[in-house]
Amino acid sequence: MIEIDDNARRAIANARALLDTMLASGWNEVCVTGVEGDYFLARQPGTVNPLLAAETVSVAVDPVSVPFGSTEIIKAPHVGTVAWLAEIGHSVAEGGAVARLTVLDETIDIPSTKAGTIAAHVAQVNDLAEFSTPLVELAS
C-alpha cells in the first residue's frame, strides 16, 4: 500500500482534469508547465516528451508528420516562410532535410521523419507556412 499525501492527491486530480480535457478536445498531446508541477500526456502511438527534449536552434526537433495512405505528409513544426523544398523524386534518409523555413534571418531545416522519396510538394516556395501546414508528401 502506497501512502498518498495531499500533494500527490492534488497532482493526481490535476492529471485527471488534464486527461479529461485532452479526451474532450481531440488533441493528441497535452503539455503543461506550472508551479505545482509539469504534466505531459500523449495519445497512442506517443510522441517526444517536450519536457525532456533538449533545446535546439537550427533543426526542428519534432517535425509534424501524418501517415497518408502509403505516404506521409511532413508538416511545418512552427510558422516560417518556405525557402526551399527537396526536389520531387529525391531520396532522403531519416533525418535528412525535406524543406527549409526562414524565420526572420534564420534558416531552419525540416528533417524527414523516415527514409523515403519526395512524392509531391504540398506547399510552395515563398509561402508563409503556419504551424502544421503540409510541406511535402513523402513515399516510403
Binding site: 492534488r10 486530480a13 490535476n14 482534469a17 488534464l18 479529461d20 480535457t21 474532450a24 478536445s25 488533441w27 498531446e29 497535452v30 503539455c31 503543461v32 508547465t33 517536450p50 513544426p77 512552427h78 510558422v79 516560417g80 516562410t81 526562414t102 524565420v103 526572420l104 534564420e106 508563409l128 503556419e130 504551424f131 502544421s132
Partner: protein, 455 residues
C-alpha cells in the same frame, strides 16, 4: 504614420479587447494564435490569423522570433503585445524596429531599465519619487539600533549580499533591532560569507495603489487617476478599484505628480503603470515598480475617465501625440473590477479547465464584461485561468459594491468551477465595505475565516 494593419501577439480577453479597439480605428487585424486557440473569439473577429506553433506557450506566444516573423510576413506595420507573454521583453520592440514594425509600447531601453529593480529605484530617486525608507551597510548592532530609531519600527533586517528570505528578521523596537542584528548577521555570514545587513521599514498592512499613465515619448505625460488593487492572493490581484477612496486628496495629488515625474524623466512612451505601496497608518506612499504595458485592470480607469486607453495606445504607436491634456481628463464615480478565474476556491484554487456548458453574464447600466468566453467554449489548460473581468461603475463606492453584488448574483457559469462565489463573499465582508483591507487581508482574514468555518 498611423498603423494600417495591426498584429496582435496575445490571446484571451485582451486579444479581443485590442482587436475591437483596432477595428474601431479602421485598422486591419492579424491575430497570432497557438494550435489550441485557432477557434478563439478573437480569431473569429480578425481579418486573418497566423498559427505560430503548438499549444505550448514557449513554442508559440513566447517565441519573439516567430511572433515578429509572422507579423512581418503577414504585412503588418504595427504590433500590440497585450500583457504577460512577451509584453515586457525588450527583444520584442527591438525585433519590431529591425523589421519596420511599430511596437505598441515603450522604447526597448526604457523597458529594460525599468525592468531592473535597482535601476528603476535609482530612476525613481532621481525623479524625487519616495522610496521605502531604509539604509544599506549596517555593520554593527549599535548601527542597527540607531538606524532603526531613525527609520521607524517595525523594520526588516536582511542580508545585503543575498535574497530568498535567508537571514531576514523583523524588529519592532531598538532591543529587537540589536538582537535581530546578531541573528541576521550570523545567518548572513553562514549563508553568504558577509554579515553586512540592509534595513528598511516594514509595512505589515499596506495597500497596493497604482497610477495609470500615458506618455507621448517626448516628455509629455498624462495620468488617468489611481487604482487600488489591495485584494490579492499570493501577489495576484483579484479585485481592483478606482479611485483609492482610502487615500486623502492631498496625498493623491502627490501620488499622481510622483508617477508623472518619473515617467516624464525617461520620456516614457505609450501606456504604463507606476505601482506604489500605501502605508495607511503613516499616510505615506513608496515606489514599487513601473509596469511598462497595458494592465489587466485598465478598465476601471477607463470607466471613471470615459477614455479608451487601448485606442490611445494604438494612436500613439502610429506617431500621434497625446489626444488629451491633463485638464481634459475628468474622473467621475467609482469603478470595481473582479477577475473571474476558472479555479476552484474550495480546492485550494485548483485550475478548472474544460468546456463551459452555460454562460449567462449579467447586463445592465454601469456593467461591463471583458471576456472571450461563451457557451460551449473550451478553456485550454495551457494558459492562465482568467476567463473574464466583470467591471461595474456607479456614482459612489457603496453604490458600486451594490451593483457588483447584483451583477455577480446574475452571472451564471456552468461546466467549470469559477471564483464568482468567492468574489461575492469578499465584497459582502464588513471589512471590504468599510474599506479596511490591505494586501494580506484576503489570505490572513477572509480565507482564514473560511478555513476556520470549514474545520
Amino acid at each position: 504614420m498611423a498603423i494600417k494593419r495591426l498584429f496582435i501577439a496575445n490571446r484571451g480577453e485582451i486579444a479581443l479587447r485590442i482587436v475591437r479597439a483596432a477595428q474601431a480605428l479602421n485598422m486591419e487585424t492579424v491575430l497570432a494564435v497557438s494550435d489550441a486557440d485557432r477557434d478563439s473569439a478573437a480569431a473569429r473577429l480578425v481579418d486573418r490569423t497566423v498559427v505560430l506553433g503548438p499549444a505550448q506557450a514557449a513554442r508559440s506566444y513566447l517565441d519573439p522570433r516567430l511572433v515578429v516573423h509572422a507579423a512581418k510576413a503577414s504585412g503588418c506595420d504595427g504590433l500590440h503585445p497585450g500583457y504577460g507573454f512577451l509584453s515586457e521583453r525588450a527583444i520584442l520592440p527591438r525585433l519590431c524596429a529591425a523589421n519596420g514594425i511599430a511596437f505598441v509600447g515603450p522604447e526597448p531601453d526604457v523597458i529594460e531599465s525599468l525592468g531592473d529593480k535597482i535601476q528603476a529605484r535609482g530612476m525613481a530617486r532621481a525623479a524625487g519619487v519616495p522610496l521605502v525608507p531604509g539604509c544599506d551597510g549596517v555593520a554593527t548592532a549599535a548601527d542597527a539600533r540607531r538606524e532603526g530609531d531613525k527609520i521607524g519600527y517595525p523594520v526588516l533586517l536582511k542580508a545585503a549580499a543575498g535574497g530568498g528570505g535567508r537571514g531576514m528578521v523583523i524588529a519592532h523596537n531598538g532591543d529587537e533591532a540589536e538582537a535581530g542584528f546578531h541573528r541576521a548577521s550570523a545567518e548572513a555570514v553562514a549563508a553568504f560569507g558577509d554579515g553586512t545587513l540592509f534595513m528598511e521599514r516594514f509595512v505589515p498592512e499596506a495597500r497596493h495603489v497604482e497610477v495609470q499613465l500615458m506618455g507621448d515619448g517626448k516628455g509629455q505625460v498624462v495620468h488617468f487617476g489611481e487604482r487600488d488593487c489591495s485584494v490579492q492572493r499570493r501577489y495576484q490581484k483579484l479585485i481592483e478599484e478606482a479611485p483609492c477612496t482610502a487615500m486623502p486628496d492631498h496625498l493623491r495629488k502627490q501620488l499622481h505628480e510622483s508617477a508623472c515625474a518619473l515617467a516624464a524623466s525617461v520620456n516614457y512612451r505609450n501606456a504604463g503603470t507606476c505601482e506604489f505601496l500605501f502605508d495607511v497608518k503613516r499616510q505615506e506612499f513608496y515606489f514599487i515598480e513601473v509596469n511598462a504595458r497595458i494592465q489587466v485592470e485598465h478598465p476601471v480607469s477607463e470607466m471613471i475617465s470615459g477614455f479608451d486607453l487601448v485606442q490611445e495606445q494604438l494612436r500613439i504607436a502610429g506617431g500621434a501625440g497625446l489626444s488629451v491634456t491633463q485638464d481634459q481628463v475628468s474622473l467621475t464615480g467609482h469603478a470595481i473590477e473582479c477577475r473571474i478565474n476558472a479555479e476552484d476556491p474550495a480546492r485550494d484554487f485548483l485550475p478548472s479547465p474544460g468546456r463551459i456548458t452555460r454562460w449567462s453574464p449579467p447586463q445592465g447600466e454601469g456593467i461591463r464584461l471583458d471576456s472571450h468566453m461563451s457557451e460551449g467554449a473550451m478553456i485550454p489548460p495551457f494558459y492562465d485561468s482568467m476567463i473574464g473581468k466583470l467591471i461595474v461603475h456607479a456614482p459612489t463606492r457603496d453604490a458600486a459594491i451594490d451593483r457588483l453584488d447584483a451583477a455577480l448574483a446574475d452571472f451564471r457559469v456552468e461546466g467549470i468551477a469559477t471564483t464568482i462565489g468567492l468574489h461575492r463573499e469578499i465584497i459582502a465582508h464588513p471589512d471590504f465595505r468599510a474599506n479596511r483591507i490591505h494586501t494580506r487581508w484576503l489570505e490572513q482574514v477572509l480565507l482564514a475565516e473560511r478555513k476556520g468555518a470549514a474545520a
